[in-house]
């Protein structure tokens, strides 16, 4: 398995390289003039001398292949460039927004996994019960609600109404913002921080919880009806052992795949959630940078998203071995 892991990491490198290079060239096809943006975005007739200065400083007058090579040389030495809009090094921006997005995504993921799997599991075991019907109904509705609607509803009830109607303090959430301090990377270090984190995490996880619950139910039902489960029951194992030890692990494989695929979106594309909750994350930073043709920022942040995504999917793939011993990794 270790050999498999190492091979996968080695494969990741060309993937990152290709993805970012593609983006790099894409930006040269799109309209938009970096010199204008750098000189304050004024759009006034920038004097020739100034234009030349900027082009020299940033290397815009070099042919594209040269700029390409220079960019990657910079990356390998840790220099991701500077933002055209603000002049701040991209690395600074990455340090600020990337951890926030990862934390939010991890929390959304935990909610998805725990609630989704839990609900789906119970639903499948108690098929056609009242609980099951309720779950089917609510998941259908939940999947149809866009994240910003969920977001605004959560804000309305848990931030505004809870304040104005005097709900107990532990139910009062903040309407937006990003926690400042963290403990052990993923835990907000202050009371206020928790209040800022909970609502966006729920909003972000909301639709996926419904999807996972339904999927879990479906795969569990499929698994429960297989031959080996019948054998286990026939052997005299308790229902609990049958479900948890034998059924669940197999049913989890597609779920885990789903979670892995979703994680990339959670990290890099949570724009709507970030806007509604004014959460300082990568999604809105990438969108803004893309709109403004702030190429270094887009490339830098996308690189982070790609790397995180590849890493998470590697973990997911490795977990298959644990879930299903039949899956071996050929050396």
């Amino acid at each position: 398995m270790l050999g498999y892991a190492i091979r996968r990491v080695a494969q990741a490198i060309p993937v990152v390289f290709l993805a970012i290079s593609l983006l790099f060239f894409l930006f040269y096809v799109l309209p938009g003039d970096p010199v204008t943006i750098i000189s304050g975005g004024t759009g006034r007739n920038i004097p020739e001398a100034t234009r030349q200065n900027i082009e020299e400083k940033y290397g815009f007058d070099d042919p594209i292949p040269v700029q390409f090579v220079n960019y990657w040389k910079g990356v390998l030495t840790g220099d991701l460039g500077t933002s055209y809009r603000t002049g701040t090094p991209v690395w600074e921006t990455v340090k600020q927004v990337a951890p926030n997005s990862i934390r939010l995504a991890l929390w959304a993921l935990m909610l998805e996994a725990v609630i989704g799997i839990g609900v789906g599991l119970v639903s499948s075991v108690k098929r056609y019960s009242f609980f099951d019907t309720l779950v089917t109904l609510t998941t259908t509705i939940a999947m149809a609600i866009p994240v910003f609607v969920t977001g605004y509803l959560l804000i309305y009830f848990f931030a505004i109404r809870s304040f104005q109607d005097g709900w107990p303090a532990w139910m009062r959430m903040r309407s937006g913002g990003t926690p400042d301090e963290w403990f052990l990377f993923i835990f907000p270090a202050s009371d206020d921080g928790w209040r800022k984190l909970i609502l966006p995490a729920i909003a972000l996880a909301f639709v996926q919880i419904a999807v996972i619950a339904r999927m879990m139910r479906a795969t569990m039902l499929e698994t429960i009806n297989t031959d080996y489960i019948r054998t286990a029951r026939a052997k005299g194992l308790t229902e609990r052992a049958v479900v948890f030890r034998h059924g669940l692990r197999n049913a989890l494989i597609p779920i885990v795949t789903l979670i892995g695929l979703d994680f990339g979106t959670l990290v890099g594309a949570a724009v709507l959630t970030e806007t509604v909750f004014s959460y300082n994350g990568m999604g809105s930073a990438i969108v803004k940078a893309a709109q403004l043709r702030d190429v270094p920022v887009v490339l830098g942040l996308t690189m982070v998203v790609v790397i995180v995504y590849l890493f998470v999917n590697l973990l997911i793939d490795l977990s298959y071995g644990m879930l299903d011993p039949r899956i071996r990794y050929e050396d």
Partner: protein, 560 residues
């Protein structure tokens, strides 16, 4: 700055006029208070008590409620939001107070010569927050910095009336010959190319702020970006306590070295929201001391919370491209008239603003001396039939490109634009909505080919007719705030004649003529006149937003 909001300090017109001659009192028409009249604090308190917020800090969600500001440096801060922050950090020669009067700031007195072409300001002893003295030369060098061609500031047109400024702007000189800074006598003498009796009002604008030595070396766009994101040093009542955190906040604290009246609130946190609805949600959840009322929430907000919602000197309008082959110029006058007649301003007012704003019948709002009704000449009324006829006269409806209705996201303009789009389609025009990022919107609209039919707002810098007439429509403001790139020598002549006239009544008549010329060419589509849209918590005392939408932060206090 104008666009979204602007708060320039306005020098008391009365003051400058008294110094000249005609103190003919001027017919100051009271701005007709439209619907609510519920401005002010509510008796018995509101749901927004301000409890739980830090004792010594004002948590502000109204200033930077629609997006990250593009700039806060005086040389480049051209929006109301960014310059509100600039105003608490810098004091200029003069300023406009809560009563819309031009009063002294760093200049204790000023006088002009007989034909208002030369102005002399006497400065008091003042210093920047780092102890560096504020001298007449601090002003002169700061102004030269604004004009530096490497910077290409969109605000430089404000200075072009000064003799020698054009040479600096074109890179032919480093010094503005028309400005004489006498650091020993502490006087600043400014010579103008053309008479301008409102000049003391003009210099209240933040672009005329003094700058410390440290800032003078930042003369290009990216250098200013860097300086803005450090700790900018200024001479105002507040100073930056930490660098600007993009998309999060700008935090300021009282400046101990301030030579004026010390501010009563020790700290202000200007929180940055991505859109006005989020800012308002923060206010409603008790996280904020001030908030901005989003469209559609006006009636609710003014009846529930303390608010400041009086009519202001502000115009909400659509700029329209003078250079566009299908919309601009004399050939396409009919379609522009059609557009103006097609728009149902009352419906916009009712639906989006709960009846709070007044439909505009011209550019200049009531309350500005010289205001006259319906300078639009009947074209600002709702008449879709006439509009349809005009579209037929125009004759290009079949082959036209869809008109791009541009607007900035985050400012709550979606509803207005939807109504306008509907109105225009109803008279046979093809339309396309074009939302843009809020932070760079005005930068983009100022470019050639930028504004097609672009939503904009102008808040007067000072209560003077000259302000909008000059900044929005003269040919010298193209690439600046003249978004439509209107270029008419007839208009320029009339505007210059009005600016030069020293007799107030005669001047106002000339301005009316100039505005009529504007509408004869249908160079702009006015929609309504702004009101202030601020809500605030119970613990905030003495919040006054003046006619220029500038909030008097240094004079406010927190109860309890």
């Amino acid at each position: 700055m104008r666009r979204t909001t602007r708060g320039a300090k306005v020098a008391a017109l009365a003051f400058s006029l008294a110094l000249l001659a005609a103190a003919c009192g001027g017919s100051d028409e009271e701005p007709s208070s439209s619907s609510n009249g519920s401005t002010g604090k509510k008796e018995g308190g509101t749901a927004a008590t301000g409890e739980g917020l830090p004792e010594d800090t004002l948590v502000d969600y109204q200033t930077l409620s629609a997006d990250n500001p593009n700039h806060i440096d005086p040389a480049t801060a051209d929006t109301r939001q960014g310059s509100q922050v600039t105003e608490v950090l810098y004091d200029g020669l003069t300023q406009v107070n809560a009563d819309n009067e031009v009063v002294p700031a760093v200049a204790t007195e000023w006088s002009g010569n007989d034909d208002a072409t030369e102005w002399t300001f006497t400065l008091k002893e003042d210093e920047f927050s780092n102890g560096e003295p504020v001298l007449p030369s601090s002003f002169k060098k700061a102004w030269e910095r604004v004009l530096n061609p490497d910077l290409a500031s969109t605000l430089s047109y404000h200075l072009l009336v000064i003799t020698g400024a054009n040479d600096v702007a074109e890179g032919n000189a480093d010094e503005i010959t028309g400005v004489v800074a006498d650091d020993d006598a502490m006087t600043l003498t400014v010579s103008l190319d053309a008479p301008l009796s409102d000049f003391p009002a003009v210099v209240s604008h933040t672009v005329f702020s003094p700058m410390p030595e440290e800032a003078l070396s930042a003369t290009t766009g990216d250098e200013i970006n860097e300086w803005e994101r450090g700790l900018m040093i200024g001479n105002g009542p507040y100073k930056m306590s930490e660098p600007w955190k993009d998309d999060q906040y700008i935090k300021v604290e009282a400046n101990e070295n301030y030579t004026g009246d010390a501010p009563k609130i020790p700290k202000i946190d200007f929180m940055i929201s991505k859109e006005v609805e989020s800012a308002y949600a923060a206010f409603e959840s008790g996280e904020a001391d001030t908030g901005y009322i989003p469209p559609g929430a006006f009636a609710d907000a003014t009846s529930t919370y303390n608010n400041s919602t009086d009519p202001t000197f502000g115009l909400y309008y659509f700029g329209i491209s003078w250079e566009d082959d299908e919309l601009g110029g004399e050939d396409n006058l009919a379609v522009r008239q059609a557009i103006s007649l097609a728009i149902d301003r009352d419906r916009i007012n009712d639906q989006v603003y709960d009846g709070a704003r007044d439909a505009a019948t011209g550019v200049t709002p009531p309350g500005i001396p010289g205001y006259a009704e319906d300078l639009c000449g009947g074209y600002c009324e709702y008449d879709p039939d006439r509009a349809t006829d005009l579209v037929d006269d125009w004759g290009k409806a079949e082959t036209m490109r869809p008109i791009k209705l541009q607007f900035n996201l985050g400012g709550g303009h979606e509803d207005v634009v939807s109504i306008v789009a509907e109105n225009l389609e109803a008279v046979g025009l093809k339309v396309e909505q074009d939302p843009r990022d809020g932070e760079t919107y005005f930068d983009e609209m100022k470019k050639e080919g930028g504004c097609v039919m672009c939503r904009a707002g102008w808040i007067w810098d000072y209560p003077s007719y000259y302000n909008a007439m000059y900044a929005l429509f003269t040919s010298t403001s193209i690439d600046g705030d003249n978004l439509g790139r209107y270029n008419s020598s007839a208009y320029d002549e009339k505007a210059n004649a009005a600016a030069a006239e020293t007799d107030e009544d005669a001047r106002n008549e000339l301005w009316n003529e100039a505005e009529k010329q504007l509408f004869a060419d249908m160079a702009v589509i006015p929609i309504n006149w702004y009101t202030n849209q601020i809500v605030y918590s119970d613990r905030v005392e003495n919040l006054v937003a003046n006619g220029l939408q500038a909030v008097n932060y240094p004079e406010m206090s927190l109860a309890g």
